[in-house]
């Protein structure tokens, strides 16, 4: 009887602490779903795009590794931002008449699988509209470029170029046209961008944050130093002295918060636990954004709040000089064809030294401007026939009927000069151009604006 009573009061106390300590229990039950560890961020048919300047239209204002993805929106497969309409009750689409002139429902393709927060609602005309957390999703008719919000396209911050409907925008040296760019038209209060990041509906303890960790291909928990947190399946054991896993310790006076409780450890240390999984950092992660512990131990994985979709025929290889890179399933490094951008500091050789710019990836598309010799050794990384766009992955049809994988809007390629996993013998290979004609009959076209003489470069694709 004594044991039973003890158990009863312990359980009651735990429940009371959870209820009083947090609003976060809504994250577990708000939408009638049980919390899930590292769910997929997007179903097939839903994309992800960084908003605003992180699209990389602006040629000159960012230096090495400074292209910050402050916001990542859920999008259509063509990259257009998705919105929710606040007055809509869950499960019902009420934007009609005048509202419907500017906001168009994003419809579900037949046969699309829905899961987790993703669902569909049936509209009055019988069509099915995507919904996230029960809220129907819309596009805005004035959004013509990925990264736009309420018709405000980040393309106007870049060099002179055509926007998504073929109108010239931007201009000036190094995107200095932005100085004259019109200010954003604010989003009406009753509309919200459907954001994948930052994550706003989750409460975390002091000292823990939620950040995008590209190397972990997801949005994950990090500690107060910015290091990626990992979660153990099972109860913690006493770590060996040389263990690479360091318990994420909680203050002795800390209380459980939402999905965060404490793991019982044999050494008495109070260790944070997320969804019942004890949390750790990994000693080889030296900088924020590192996730070198991923895959090291089958029992320990990145404490992801959501994970990005990764095709089954893609792997991540750890390389000696450039950290994690995307690779084929058998380890062949994947590359993107990128436009050269001059950067003070010369950070091109650094990992993420020339940050991917989705706008440039779209400019270049599948046309790598390869001559015959180049085409012999560079090959499109083809997607299976049944592959579908999802998250940061898209598919570009090729003239021969095949389909090429596209990641973060860059078409992906392999290089014959790579023989073993981790080889990057095609990285940083440049094709430069300028004209020596006094009266050229046609102008050079590398597909994307450049400050001076243009160049295309083969660059490793990084997560």
């Amino acid at each position: 009887m004594t044991i039973r009573r003890t158990l009863f009061w312990t359980s009651a106390l735990s429940i009371a602490m959870l209820v009083t300590a947090t609003d976060l229990s809504r994250a577990a039950s708000e939408y009638g779903r049980a919390p899930e560890f590292a769910p997929l961020a997007t179903p097939p048919g839903i994309g992800l795009q960084p908003l605003g300047r992180a699209q990389g239209f602006d040629l000159g204002k960012q230096t090495a590794a400074a292209l910050n993805r402050a916001e990542i929106a859920f999008t259509t497969v063509s990259g257009l931002t998705l919105y929710t309409y606040v007055p809509n009750p869950a499960g019902k689409a009420t934007c009609a008449n005048e509202c419907a002139e500017n906001w168009k429902p994003y419809l579900v393709d037949t046969g699309t699988r829905v899961f987790g927060p993703w669902s569909s609602i049936t509209r009055d005309d019988g069509t099915k509209q995507w919904a996230y957390d029960g809220k129907p999703l819309y596009t805005h008719v004035k959004d013509v470029d990925p990264g736009s919000v309420n018709g405000n396209s980040p393309a106007r911050f870049g060099g002179r170029r055509k926007n998504g409907v073929g109108e010239y925008v931007g201009g000036g040296i190094r995107g200095s046209g932005a100085r004259n760019a019109k200010p954003d038209v604010p989003l009406p209060a009753e509309w919200k961008v459907a954001l994948a990041y930052p994550v706003s509906n989750m409460i975390v303890p002091d000292g823990v944050s939620i950040k995008e960790v590209p190397d972990a291909t997801g949005i994950a928990l990090i500690d107060h130093t910015g290091r990626t947190l990992y979660a153990l399946k099972g109860r913690p054991k006493k770590e060996a002295l040389n263990s690479p896993w360091v318990p994420a310790t909680a203050p002795q006076l800390a209380k459980p918060v939402g999905h965060f409780t404490f793991a019982k450890r044999p050494d008495g240390i109070k260790q944070w636990s997320y969804l019942g999984r004890p949390l750790y950092t990994y000693v080889e992660d030296l900088a924020p954004g590192d996730a070198y512990g991923a895959g090291v131990d089958k029992q320990i994985e990145v404490a992801a709040v959501v994970r990005y979709y990764m095709p089954a025929d893609v792997s991540i290889q750890r390389t000696l000089g450039q950290g994690n890179v995307l690779a084929t399933k058998d380890g062949k490094t994947l590359y993107r064809r990128d436009g050269f951008i001059y950067q003070s500091g010369g950070g091109h050789s650094l990992r993420r030294g020339q940050p991917p710019r989705p706008a440039v990836g779209r400019d270049i598309g599948i046309n790598a401007r390869c001559d015959a010799a180049c085409s012999k050794v560079w090959h499109p990384f083809l997607a299976p026939a049944d592959a579908k766009p999802q998250g940061f992955w898209n598919i570009a049809p090729r003239p021969d009927g095949t389909r090429q994988w596209v990641y973060q809007d860059y078409a992906l390629w392999t290089f014959d000069g790579d023989k073993a996993p981790g080889d990057m013998n095609g990285n940083d290979a440049y094709m430069t151009a300028f004209s020596e004609e006094a009266a050229p009959k046609s102008l050079l076209d590398f597909g994307t604006p450049a400050d001076g003489a243009p160049a295309l470069v083969w660059a490793i694709a990084i997560p």
């Binding site: 040296i173 994690n324 091109h348 940083d428």
Partner: protein, 353 residues
């Protein structure tokens, strides 16, 4: 290539790399080329602006900044009378006719073997050898950012190295021979490291640091050489290829590579690397930076184009007759290091997917 009997190996990490300059008083006919501000005013005249208009531009530039002039300069090319980017289409701009150097001395090597009979030959101020081919120095030697000496580095090259040394994968030089303190055969190997140059807290290069050798075959160069009186010289003059950084040039490619390298008492070393370099690769490095480069550091980029093209001295194109390569020499400084092959053992297995 078979290595010389390698009983001793010494490795170095390059701690400075830039054009080898030897500027002297009076080595430029009519004086040094104009500053970029002065040159821009001349370029306005070439575009057809009259004296009064140019004076008004200059006055406004002094009082309010040079945006108006710069905007015109950024589009000073002309195709059918329409403005065009001059860096992409340098031939659409009237040659500003920057002057080249006429001095007697330049560091380098007698690449073409013509010796004293070479009408363009310099004399090396260090070795006193005549017939030195270094047309790159001749081309840029009267443009301010490229004037200097081995001790007083030219502004452009000092700036470029300052930009790159903390980010560009370091270059490694390994010498192998029977006894590197004695005269004899030596194998000289150039590689690229996975790490950038490590510096002390005062910015000086750190000695005796270990660097991993990048296995990328593009940046692996082996030459046979010899040591005579404490100076290493490459004796088989093949091609040199090293990945660099697009800030200076995506790659450094040389033909007929020459290299001399002498040991200093403190264990460091210095030398000259020379050969024939594709001049278009040099031009691209300047042209890719466009207007920001031109105003801040390089000087008139179109002027540099014409200087390079006029002074290129090797590998004439059979169709056009234009020389494709230009003789060039670079200053190399290096400190002792340990060069460790980045072996397959270090590779880690796939970590996810």
């Amino acid at each position: 290539m078979r290595s010389a009997a390698a009983l001793e190996t010494r490795s170095y990490v390059v701690s400075y790399f830039g054009q080898a300059a030897y500027s002297e008083e009076g080595d430029c006919p009519g004086g040094i080329n104009p500053t970029i501000e002065e040159q821009y005013l001349k370029n306005l005249a070439a575009l057809g602006y009259n004296g009064t208009e140019i004076e008004a531009f200059a006055k406004k530039a002094v009082e309010e900044g040079g945006n108006d002039i710069e905007r015109l300069m950024y589009e000073r090319g002309r195709i059918d009378g329409k403005p065009i980017n001059p860096y992409v289409y340098p031939e659409t701009v009237v040659d500003p006719k920057l002057v080249a150097l006429t001095g007697k001395y330049a560091y380098g090597f007698d690449l073409d073997g013509r010796g004293v009979d070479d009408p363009d030959g310099f004399t090396d101020p260090e070795t006193k050898e005549a017939g030195i081919d270094n047309q790159f120095f001749r081309a840029f030697g009267c443009v301010r950012p490229y004037r200097g000496s081995l001790a007083g580095r030219p502004t452009y090259w000092a700036w470029a190295w300052g930009q790159l040394q903390d980010s560009q994968p370091a270059w490694l030089i390994t010498l192998s021979g029977e006894d590197l303190d004695k005269d004899g055969e030596v194998t000289v190997t150039f590689d690229r490291a996975l790490e950038h140059l490590k510096s002390n807290s005062d910015g000086s290069p750190r000695h005796d640091v270990s660097y991993r050798i990048d296995s990328d075959p593009r940046s692996h160069n082996v030459f046979r050489g010899e040591i005579r009186d404490g100076v290493v010289n490459v004796t088989e003059h093949g091609n040199f290829r090293m990945l660099q950084n697009p800030l200076v040039a995506p790659e450094l490619n040389l033909k007929s590579t020459h290299f001399r390298f002498k040991f200093r008492r403190d264990g460091s070393a210095e030398g000259i690397l020379g050969g024939y370099q594709p001049w278009r690769e040099i031009y691209f490095a300047f042209a890719s930076g466009g207007p920001a480069f031109e105003v801040c550091i390089t000087g008139d980029i179109v002027g540099l184009y014409y200087l390079l093209k006029r002074n290129a001295d090797a590998d004439a194109n059979p169709t056009t007759g234009q020389n494709d390569d230009i003789s060039a020499s670079y200053q190399v400084e290096a400190v002792p290091a340990f060069a460790v092959p980045a072996t397959d053992i270090q590779r880690k297995a796939a970590v996810g997917g």
